[in-house]
């Protein structure tokens, strides 16, 4: 399979860190942007992106394609996205297995779907149409969910596996999302990891979440917890080439803390590689 070249270790590009990134040139291999934040006419966001793009590879990650919505695809959105792709020339473009609204509304959240044949056919068809429009393979991410539907006809991993194979798209494995959804719905995250087609995984997301006791919420506002690091190691054993990154979207720490998380990621990978070589 024709896969994008691995990028190494990245971070989510967030405005709070622009100046530090440009001044200190940190040891980060690549940055991921939230596509919609740069789908604006001009000003500082695009100016900063252009400067950072000059020195680092960029991956575009969207939150609003609403691939699972039963509303029509938003072609204006896709045209704007295509224009940004043209400007940024990203290594790849990703979005989620989720919907954000129907009847013209956009709730700015990644909403869950039932894992049914109908939903699978629907999302596969839409991914194919988007790929045809953008003339590139999409990278699709598993979302965190807080409810599971009684009407589901298959497991999430069965859904994801068939989805990426039928749509011939690639996979962004969010390790924290697997952990959060696994906890919330009572499945073993390892079962998910074992089931997804490792050969299609191009990227890992790692992030922190909030533990509310009876359920966990994907908040991206704290460090990655030890349980998710352990799951990352298992994911890395299955997908040695996947590019990996830390997402942080709130309660922003000093940049050095994110670099320390990347260092931990590198150390885990070195350990995994060492074991395999031994």
């Amino acid at each position: 399979m024709n896969m994008p070249a691995p990028l190494g270790y990245g971070l989510g590009l967030r405005p709070v860190y622009y100046d530090e990134i440009l001044e200190t040139r940190p040891p980060v291999d690549w940055f991921e942007i939230i596509s919609e934040n740069y789908m604006v006419p001009g000003g500082r966001p695009l100016a900063m992106l252009d400067r950072i793009r000059a020195d680092w590879p960029i991956v575009m990650h969207g939150v609003a394609m609403s691939l699972a919505s039963t509303d029509p695809l938003d072609m204006n959105y896709l045209r704007d996205l295509a224009a940004l792709i043209d400007r940024v020339q990203p290594a790849w473009v990703s979005d989620h297995i989720a919907w954000t609204g129907v009847h013209g509304a956009t709730l700015h959240d990644l909403l869950p779907i039932p894992f049914t044949r109908e939903a699978l056919d629907h999302v596969v068809e839409r991914i194919q149409r988007v790929q045809d429009f953008l003339k590139r393979r999409l990278v699709i991410e598993n979302a965190s969910t807080y409810v599971a539907f009684t009407g589901s006809e298959m497991t999430e991993w069965e859904f994801v596996r068939e989805l990426v194979q039928r749509a011939d798209c690639l996979l962004l494995l969010d390790v924290n999302n697997i952990f959060v959804s696994g906890f919330n719905h009572g499945y073993d995250p390892m079962t998910f990891l074992d089931a997804v087609p490792a050969e299609r995984v191009v990227q890992f997301h790692m992030a922190g979440h909030t533990d509310n006791g009876t359920h966990r919420i994907d908040t991206h506002d704290q460090p990655v917890c030890d349980e998710v690091w352990a799951l990352y190691e298992a994911a890395r054993r299955r997908c040695p080439q996947a590019s990996a990154m830390i997402e942080r979207d709130d309660n922003f720490p000093p940049f050095s803390e994110l670099l320390a998380e990347l260092a931990r990621m590198r150390a885990i990978d070195a350990r995994v590689k060492g074991r395999e070589a031994a």
Binding site: E36, T70, Y77, A105, L107, T150, T214, H215
Partner: protein, 264 residues
């Protein structure tokens, strides 16, 4: 139930804050969380996220209204209509219009003006780029042609007529060290908002500059603007003052193009 029916019901449950319809469709939590609680994650996230968007874009309005009244405004706004734009950046665009149309808020002149002013600042922040022209660009035109010159302005440039005291209120309400807001006053004031470099900029305009800049931004030639000023202000309209306005617009980065009106 089809996917479309499920999504319609799920969305209605988030927008109305009522989740009862959804509860029969979701699995029980393996850890004892109530179905209400789990669906509530989506309901709460929706309101919190939208409230954050409004708070980020309107610190002055928040400071002016105070915590409770600002929260009430946000609640009314969120309840009025769900977001329609894919980009969260544009959620608050409709706030001033919502306040104008709302019985509860339309009489709140200074609050409405603050919303309009902060809206313009947000729009200026990421308006389309264009390099500012230096005043030296005028040298390309013979002095006898200057009366026919028209000017193009940066896409971020906006002129607003605001309730008197809005600008001072904005300054006070966004200053952490300031405890007192200006007293209410009658009348109006005018402001220009634009972007200089990466950051939004603004300043209050005197009445004659407000008229001149309005006309210039509408595409009137400089000579026509001078004539209008003379008609409106008689002897008080000095050519030097209008020339100074023009020099300021250049130096402040407002002007991005100049052309002769008849040049087509």
């Amino acid at each position: 139930m089809t996917l479309a029916e499920l999504q319609a019901r799920f969305q209605a449950g988030i927008l109305t804050g009522e989740g009862a319809d959804m509860l029969g469709l979701v699995e029980p939590s393996p850890h004892g969380a109530g179905k209400n609680e789990l669906f509530g994650v989506y309901q709460n996230a929706y309101r919190l996220r939208l409230a954050e968007f409004v708070a980020e874009d309107h610190p002055g309005l928040a400071g002016y209204l105070g915590e409770d009244e600002f929260a009430a405004l946000i609640e009314d706004f969120i309840a009025s209509d769900p977001p329609r734009h894919r980009n969260a950046r544009y959620y608050t665009t409709r706030l001033p219009q919502f306040m104008q149309e709302s019985e509860a808020w339309r009489e709140e002149g200074r609050a409405l003006s603050l919303a309009q002013f902060e809206r313009a600042l947000v729009d200026a922040f990421d308006a389309a780029d264009a390099p500012a022209l230096e005043i030296g660009a005028l040298a390309a035109f013979a002095p006898e042609r200057w009366a026919s010159l028209t000017f193009a302005f940066h896409a971020s440039a906006q002129l607003l007529e605001l309730a008197a005291g809005t600008l001072d209120t904005y300054v006070a309400a966004t200053d952490d060290d300031c405890d007192e807001l200006p007293e209410a006053s009658e009348g109006v004031e005018h402001a220009a908002i634009w972007r200089t470099g990466d950051e939004p900029a603004w300043r209050e305009l005197d009445a004659d500059e407000w008229v001149a800049l309005n006309e210039a931004m509408a595409g009137q030639a400089f000579g026509d603007i001078c004539q209008l000023a003379a008609f409106q202000q008689g002897d008080n309209a000095s050519a030097e003052r209008l020339a100074q306005f023009l020099a300021n617009w250049f130096s402040e980065g407002l002007v991005v193009g100049v052309a002769e009106k008849d040049a087509g």
